[in-house]
C-alpha cells in the first residue's frame, strides 16, 4: 500500500472523480496555476484544463453561488473556499440557497455540489484564519458536513461527497495536510454517515472527529498503560451523524467524553451529550463530559493558541472524572 499524505489523498479523489465523470469541475481562488493555498489541487489544471479547473476572482459568495447554479442544471462542481473563516462571506449561498433549494422547491431540483474548505488551529494563523465552524453548518438541515481525520478518509469521503446528490460542506484540517498513512491502491468510497471505532476499549467512549482524533488516540494509548480502556470513535461525518455507533459504544462503556477543537458553547459536544443522555440516561455511570476549545477568539501567538485548544491533559482529566464517579447502588 502506498503511503500518502492527506493532501495527496484529497487530490487523488478529485482526480479520480474528474476522470470518471465529466460533470465534475473545480472552482476556487488560486486552485489552478498556484495549485491551491494548501496545494491540494496541484497539477489538476495541467491535467484537466482551464474549463474544468477554474481560478476564480476573489469572490467567495459567487464561487459558492456559481457552484449551486451549475449543480442545479447538471454540473457536479467542487468549490474550494480557502479558509472556513471566509465561509462567512458565503453564508447566504450556503444556508439560504444550497441547503434550502431541494426542500423549498418541493424536491424538483437537486444541488449536488461540494464546498471544500479547511479549518482549525496549529499554525498560529490567528483569530480570522483558525476557527472551527462545523456547528454552523450542522445547525442547518439540508447540508451534509464531513470532517476527515486521516488520508484514507480524506480520499474515501471526498469521493463519496462528490458522488452525493446534496450540498456537502467538506471540512479539511489545515494541520493534517502533511500527515501520512497507507492508503489502499484499489479505489474505494467511504460512505457518509458511518462513524469508525478507531480503537476499542471497555471503560469510556471518547467521541471526536477531525484532527482531535489523533489526540484522542494518543490519550487512549497513554491510558492503556494504566489499564484504562478508552474506546475512540471518529465520527467522520457530522451530518448525517452516526448515533447508532455512538450509542452502541456508550451502552457498553457507560461513560462518554466528547472532544472537539471548536469552542465549547453550542458545539457538537453539547449535541452529543444531550443525545447520549436522552437515550442512555439510566445506563450512564457518570455525566457525559465535554473537552473543547475555550470560548474565546483564537490568538495568533502560538503559545496562546495552544492554551485555548484542548490538550492531552484536559482529555485525561475529563476521562478520570468520568471514572471517578462511583456507580450508584440501587
Amino acid at each position: 500500500m502506498p503511503t500518502m499524505m492527506y493532501r495527496d489523498a484529497l487530490r487523488r479523489a478529485l482526480y479520480e472523480e474528474m476522470k470518471a465523470d465529466p460533470r465534475v469541475f473545480l472552482l476556487g481562488e488560486d486552485i489552478g496555476l498556484y495549485g491551491g493555498a494548501y496545494a491540494v489541487t496541484k497539477g489538476l489544471l495541467d491535467e484537466f484544463g482551464p474549463q474544468r479547473v477554474r481560478d476564480t476572482p476573489m469572490s467567495e459568495a459567487v464561487i459558492v453561488g456559481a457552484a449551486i447554479g451549475a449543480a442545479m442544471i447538471g454540473g457536479r462542481p467542487v468549490a474550494e473556499i480557502m479558509y472556513v473563516d471566509f465561509m462567512t462571506l458565503t453564508m447566504d449561498q450556503v444556508v439560504n440557497q444550497a441547503a434550502k433549494i431541494h426542500f423549498m422547491f418541493g424536491g424538483q431540483i437537486t444541488v449536488p455540489c461540494v464546498i471544500r474548505t479547511q479549518q482549525g488551529t496549529g499554525r498560529g494563523a490567528g483569530a480570522q484564519h483558525s476557527q472551527s465552524l462545523e456547528s454552523w453548518f450542522v445547525h442547518t438541515p439540508g447540508l451534509k458536513v464531513v470532517t476527515p481525520a486521516t488520508p484514507s478518509d480524506a480520499y474515501g469521503l471526498l469521493r463519496a461527497s462528490i458522488q452525493d446528490d446534496n450540498p456537502v460542506i467538506f471540512l479539511e484540517h489545515k494541520g493534517l495536510y502533511a500527515i501520512k498513512e497507507d492508503v489502499p491502491e484499489e479505489p474505494f468510497v467511504t460512505p457518509l454517515g458511518v462513524a469508525e471505532v478507531k480503537r476499542e476499549g471497555a471503560d469510556v467512549t471518547l467521541i471526536t472527529y477531525s484532527r482531535m482524533v489523533h489526540l484522542a488516540l494518543e490519550v487512549a494509548a497513554q491510558l492503556a498503560e494504566r489499564q484504562i480502556g478508552v474506546e475512540v470513535i471518529d465520527l467522520r461525518t457530522l451530518q448525517p451523524l452516526d448515533m447508532e455507533t455512538v450509542l452502541k459504544s456508550v451502552s457498553k462503556t457507560r461513560r462518554a467524553v466528547v472532544l472537539h477543537e471548536a469552542v465549547m458553547t453550542g458545539g457538537l459536544g453539547a449535541e452529543l451529550s444531550a443525545r447520549i443522555t436522552e437515550s442512555l440516561f439510566d445506563q450512564l455511570l457518570s455525566p457525559v463530559r465535554r473537552v473543547a476549545a475555550r470560548d474565546v477568539p483564537l490568538p495568533a501567538n502560538v503559545a496562546l493558541e495552544k492554551y485555548v485548544v484542548p490538550n492531552a491533559e484536559q482529555v485525561i482529566s475529563a476521562i478520570e472524572e468520568t471514572l471517578a464517579v462511583k456507580q450508584i447502588v440501587r
Binding site: 459558492v64 451549475a70 442545479m72 442544471i73 431541494h102 426542500f103 423549498m104 418541493g106 431540483i109 446534496n166
Partner: protein, 317 residues
C-alpha cells in the same frame, strides 16, 4: 410591427395582471397559506418582453416578486394557485408559496426570497452552460434594490470576465420597499454601471413591452453567441405597495397617478392600434383569462392540503 408578437405580449401581460388581481382577491378571502406575497402589477411588460425573447432550452432565475416571470415563461396556473393555497399539488408541494414558486421543467430555477441571492446561481447556471455547451442562456431578473447587494458585483464581474451566457435584467420599479432608487444608488445610469464590468448596459422603457422584447432579444442572442452578459435596466413602476401591508406613504399620490397612467397594457394597445388588437379581441382575451383563472382556483380548492408530516420529505435528495 409584428402583429403576432404584439398580440402575444398583450395576452401574456393581461394574464399576469388578472392572475395577480385574482391572487389579491383570494388573499383577502383568506385563501393563501402564507403571508408572503408580492405582486408586480404595473411591471408586466418586463416579464412578458424578456420571456418572449427566450428559447425553450433557456433558464431564468426570479425574485420575491416573481409571478410575472413564472407566468410569462409558461408556468401552469392551476399548480401555481395550488402552491399559493398550500396544497400538495402545488409546484413546491405547498411548502414554497408565492415567493418560491418554481417549475424546473420550463427552465425556471426558482423565485428567491433573498434579495440578490440568486445572482450567483444565475452565473453558475450560465457557467455550466458554457462548460457543457448546452446552448442555453440564463436570464436573471432582479430589482434595482438588489443592484446594491455585494453578490451583484461579484456575479457581474465573474459573468463578464468569463463571458458567461447570462442576461441580467434589472426591473427598476424605483422603490425597494420604501427606498427610492435615487436615495439608495450613486450611479443611476445602466450604461455607466455596466461599463465598470466592460459589458453593454442598456436602459429601456420597461412599460413598453415591444421595446423590452427587442432589447432582450439582442442581449440573449449576444449571450448565446458567446459574447457575454448584458445588463438591462428596464424602467418600470410598482403600481401597488411593496406588499399588502404597505400603504406607500413614502411616495406622493401625484407621482403614483402619473406613473399609473403609463400602464403597459394601455401603452401596447395604443401602440398596436385597434386594428391589431380589436375590441372583440380584448373581450375574447378577458373571457379566456377569466376561464383559466376560474379553472386554476377550482383546481387549487379541490386539491388536498399539504400534510404536516411532509416537512420531513425532500430535505435531502
Amino acid at each position: 410591427m409584428d402583429r403576432e408578437l404584439t398580440k402575444s405580449l398583450y395576452k401574456t401581460m393581461l394574464l399576469i395582471r388578472r392572475t395577480e388581481e385574482r391572487i389579491l382577491e383570494e388573499m383577502m378571502k383568506g385563501k393563501l397559506a402564507s403571508t408572503m406575497c408580492h405582486v408586480s402589477i404595473g411591471q408586466e411588460a418586463v416579464a412578458a418582453g424578456v420571456c418572449d425573447a427566450m428559447a425553450p432550452q433557456d433558464y431564468l432565475t426570479s425574485t420575491h416578486r416573481g409571478h410575472g416571470h413564472f407566468i410569462a415563461r409558461g408556468g401552469g396556473l392551476g399548480r401555481m394557485m395550488a402552491e399559493l393555497f398550500g396544497k400538495e399539488t402545488g409546484y413546491c408541494k405547498g411548502r414554497g408559496g408565492s415567493m418560491h414558486i418554481t417549475d424546473i421543467t420550463i427552465g425556471h430555477l426558482g423565485a428567491n426570497g433573498i434579495v440578490g441571492g440568486h445572482l450567483g446561481i444565475a452565473a453558475g447556471a450560465a457557467l455550466w452552460s458554457q462548460i457543457s455547451s448546452n446552448d442555453a442562456v440564463t436570464v436573471c431578473f432582479f430589482g434595482e434594490g438588489a443592484t446594491n447587494e455585494g453578490i451583484t458585483h461579484e456575479s457581474l464581474n465573474m459573468a463578464a470576465l468569463w463571458k458567461l451566457p447570462v442576461v441580467f435584467v434589472v426591473e427598476n420599479n424605483h422603490y425597494a420597499m420604501s427606498l427610492a432608487w435615487e436615495r439608495s444608488t450613486a450611479q443611476l445610469n445602466f450604461t455607466e454601471k455596466a461599463s465598470a464590468y466592460g459589458i453593454p448596459g442598456v436602459d429601456v422603457d420597461g412599460q413598453d413591452a415591444l421595446a423590452v422584447q427587442e432589447v432582450a432579444k439582442a442581449a440573449i442572442d449576444r449571450a448565446r453567441r458567446g459574447e457575454g452578459p448584458t445588463l438591462i435596466g428596464a424602467h418600470t413602476y410598482r403600481f401597488l405597495g411593496h406588499s399588502r401591508a404597505d400603504p406607500s406613504k413614502y411616495r406622493s399620490s401625484e407621482e403614483e397617478e402619473r406613473e399609473r397612467a403609463r400602464d403597459p397594457l394601455t401603452i401596447l394597445r395604443t401602440k398596436a392600434g385597434t386594428d391589431v388588437i380589436t375590441d372583440s379581441d380584448l373581450e375574447a382575451y378577458e373571457a379566456e383569462v377569466k376561464q383559466q383563472l376560474d379553472d386554476a382556483v377550482k383546481f387549487a380548492e379541490d386539491s388536498p392540503l399539504a400534510q404536516p408530516s411532509t416537512v420531513f420529505e425532500d430535505i435531502y435528495a
